[in-house]
Structures are given as C-alpha cells and as structure tokens.
C-alpha cells in the first residue's frame, strides 16, 4: 500500500503535467462552455454533452492510456529493479493514470456549469450523473487500456487494438443492436437486449444517464427497456454495478498479467 501511494504520488505529478491531459480537459471545457453559452439551458446542454462524453471519454482513456503505458515501459523496468512489489507498482500506475484523466473530465465538463450557475435543484441529479458516468467510464476504459498494454508487447499493435476496442464499444455495437432489433422485430427482444446492453460499457453509460433525464424514450431502445424492466433505482444500481465490473475485471486481469509477465 505504501509503495502504491509513493508511485501514485509521482505519477500523478507526471500525468497531471502532460499535454495530453491538459488538451483533453481544455477541449471538454470549450465544448461545455460553448453549449452553455449558445445552446441554452443547463439540462439541454447536459444532454448534448452526454453524447460528447460517451464518445470522447472512452477514446481518450484508451488511446492516452495505452500510449502512456507504452512510453512508461522503460521506466517501469527501472522501477521493477527497485525493491518494490510488482502488484503495488501496477496499482500505482493504474491510479496515477486514471485519476488525472477523471479529474480532467470533471473539471473540463463541470467548471462551466458552476460559473454559469446552470445547475439547480431539479437538474443537480442529472449533472452528477453526467460527471459520475464519465468518471466510471474513465476507470473502465483505463483498465481496458492497461490490459491492452500489458498483454500486447508491440506498441503499434497495442494502439491498434485500443482504437479497435473504442470503435467496437462506441460505434459498431449500436449498429449491431439496431441490426438485431430489425432482424428479429417479430420476437420479444427485451431480455436479450438487456443482456447486450450490460456487455458494453458505453451503452451502460448511456443508460445510466438517460435514466436520469426524462427523455429516455427519445434516445434509443435500450434506455426504455432498461427503465421498464428495472425502474430508475434498480436500473441505476444494475448499470453502476456492471460498469464497476467493467473496471474490476480488466484491472484484475492486467494486474495478474503484470505480476507474472517477463519484461
């Protein structure tokens, strides 16, 4: 634990100062500010931000995460030559990567809402859901990035795999669901669709947000099904639980791999 915190302390400093995280935060800030300034009220801006968050957070977490870990490889070897445990070192690396990304997101998206004072009592829940979902997605996709970087030694292939994972989760998966829905329109699809939603963290994020906005019906099939099946409270719990699993499973797998692999 002590080693983890020590690694975390210095890595936080390194990632925090990296241009990538700064640019990420600034882009989100600009989008959020722009939507609030020109797009009207708080809830409306939040709804537009939702799509941005669902696309951008997985992409940045995956690409920045894998790149960072590949770049840190030589230094990781130097750290492995110190009297420290591999597990502690890896936990420090993961947290040092995901925490600044999550902070960059919260600051970038959240700050404009605060200085425009666009969050009132009625939209506070949705605002927190937006930030919370973004943070959960950051942890999940940074874990997937870690798994990619420790499993695939070749950095070009690793980066390719990360981008492929993003395409699958953020773009292709929705198309597949749509295909299933049209192909099997005559059958009861609620339950299979629920299952398919749980398998994709981006969909989970979408559901989580839509449950908080009263526009679930407008924003796609899975959201409605989810709400009907679980209701808001249960739906939220199930989606959060599934997202946490999406963090825990890749994290544990990559931790195991980091502890047993040859450097």
């Amino acid at each position: 634990m002590k080693t983890t915190l020590k690694v975390l302390k210095y890595e936080l400093e390194d990632v925090r100062r990296s241009r990538g995280v700064l640019a990420y935060s600034l882009v989100l800030l600009a989008v959020s500010e722009g939507l609030l300034r020109f797009g009207g009220s708080g809830p409306k801006a939040m709804l537009s931000l939702l799509s941005v968050v669902l696309l951008l957070v997985p992409l940045v977490s995956l690409v920045f995460g894998t790149m960072y870990l590949y770049n840190a490889r030589d230094f990781t070897e130097l750290l492995l030559a110190q009297p420290v445990r591999r597990g502690a070192l890896f936990r420090g690396l993961y947290l040092g990567l995901s925490l600044p990304l999550a902070a960059g997101l919260v600051i970038g998206v959240g700050a404009p809402f605060l200085w425009h004072m666009s969050v009132d009592e009625s939209s506070a829940g949705a605002f927190l859901a937006l930030l919370g979902t973004g943070v959960l997605l950051t942890f999940a996709f940074t874990a997937v990035a870690s798994l990619t970087a420790v499993t695939i030694d070749d950095r070009a292939r690793g980066l390719g795999a990360a981008i492929l994972a993003w395409l699958l989760a953020a773009v292709v998966y929705d198309g597949l669901i749509l295909l299933v829905v049209t192909l099997f329109a005559d059958y009861p699809l609620e339950r299979p669709l629920l299952g398919l939603t749980l398998l994709n963290p981006v969909d989970l994020g979408r559901v989580l947000l839509l449950l908080r906005f009263d526009t679930a019906a407008l924003m796609g099939y899975t959201g409605v099904v989810f709400e009907r099946f679980f209701g808001t409270i249960w739906g939220t719990s199930v989606a959060v639980g599934a997202l946490l699993l999406w963090t825990a499973v890749p994290f544990v797998l990559s931790l195991w791999r980091f502890r047993t692999k040859d450097f």
Binding site: T3, K6, V7, K9, Y10, E11, E13, D14, V15, R16, R17, S18, N71, A72, R73, D74, F75, E77, L78, L79, L80, A81, Q82, P83, V84, R85, R86, T260, D262, F263
Partner: protein
Amino acid sequence: MTAMEPRFREMTTDSAAAGRLHVLGSAAAIVELRGLSKRFGQRTVLRAVDCAVGRGRVTAVLGPNAAGKSTLIKVILGMVRPDAGEVLVDGVLVDGDPGYRAVIGYMPQAARFPENLTGRKVVAMLRDLRGSATPVDTTLLDEFGLAEELDKPVRTLSGGTRQKLNAAIAFLFRPSLLILDEPTAGLDPIASGLLKDRILAAARSGASVILTSHVLSELEDLVDDVVFLLDGAVRFAGPLERLRRETGEARLERAIAGLMRRGAR
C-alpha cells in the same frame, strides 16, 4: 561443465562473507545461477546457464546480439522468470520477494524517465521507493555536472544527459551489486571516463559489478572476469587472464573473436 570454480580475492571487505569463505565456497559469489533456462515462444534464449559472479569483481557478460545477455541480467533482477533453474543473489534465493534488490543498482540500456518530471523528482521518487533513510551517493551526479539539468523536465534533456542521469541513478544508493547494461553507450568520452572511474572505485571498495557491452576494447582495463554467451549457452566463464591464455590473444576483442570461431565450429 560450464560452472565456474569459485574464485576468491585476497581481500574482501564483506567480513561476513570472508568468515564463510573457506567453509562454504559459494560465499565468494555475489550472484549464482544454477541451470537457468528460458524460452520466449519458439526461441530458446538461455540454455542451462550455470555460473557464478565473484564478489568484489567486475564481470563482463559478453556475446553477440541475441546471445541472451539482457535476458541473463533481467533474470538476476527478477524481471524475467526462468523456466527452469534458480538464481541466488548474495546467498538469497530469488523467488518473488523483492527485498534482495535493495543491494542492487541497475543501469538499463535505454534511459527513459517520466517526461514531465524533473530529474530531481525522478531521483526523489527512487529514494522514496527505497525508503528515505537510505544513504545516497551523489558523487557521479556531481561529477557529471548535472546540478542545473536536474531542475528541468526530463523531456527537455538531451539523450546524453539522460544517459548520465541513468548512470548516476545506478550508483545512487551505494549498491553492493551494480548491474550495468551497455553502460558506456551514448556517453561522450569524458562522461564515459568518469563512469569507468566510478566503476573501478566501486569495485575497489568491495562492490561487485556485472556489465554488458558491445564495445569490447573499452572494457579491457575494467574487467576481472568474463562470461561469454553464445546462443544462450555459456561458452566461457573465468578470469580475463585465462581467456587470454586459452585463446592465445592478448586483446579482449581478438580473444572473443577466437571464442566465436571456436563456437561456430
């Protein structure tokens, strides 16, 4: 067959080891490798490597590219787990407990540090990880004149400066075992000379040194023992004088070439 007979120095600064010397031969060895084998997929990188690295001596691990030099070093450091065989460092079996690495100073081949940290932060991080009570030796940092560069982010430093930092870090915690992978690569002649002086000084004060290098002639005045690897197997292990005697060549470079010709036959 390839195992080296333990060799003693007349003087060893480690009194505990000196006490055991005559009873237990292996006390003279800081690192012992027994029957090490390693495959990466189809490729066999180490084949039943047996050898011992003498305490207080400078040992060069030599061999052509892909002979297994780096893998050998990484096995000693616990970065690569052997498929078979065992490693003892200072008499302790390397089995996953990281404590033994407290006595090791490592200089990797490639010097890359977190880009946005200053050199000073990198040094502070390693100190923190070792426990801040560990005494440090900044002689090499000072000799390289790195004081000013240490306050700049690593990404702004030149390759040579990074390599100097890399070298200085290996000596930072007064290690009793120095492991240097291609230490003089990327250093200018002055820095390289300073580094060689430090290596000799460390050996004189009782530290053991393992190094690899391609530039054989640079090493001649440093090296006590040679371990020559070819295709993952030890082809020669012993004092430099013996290598010269056996190959009939006075220069290390020619002696190694002689070994390689014999290996090819």
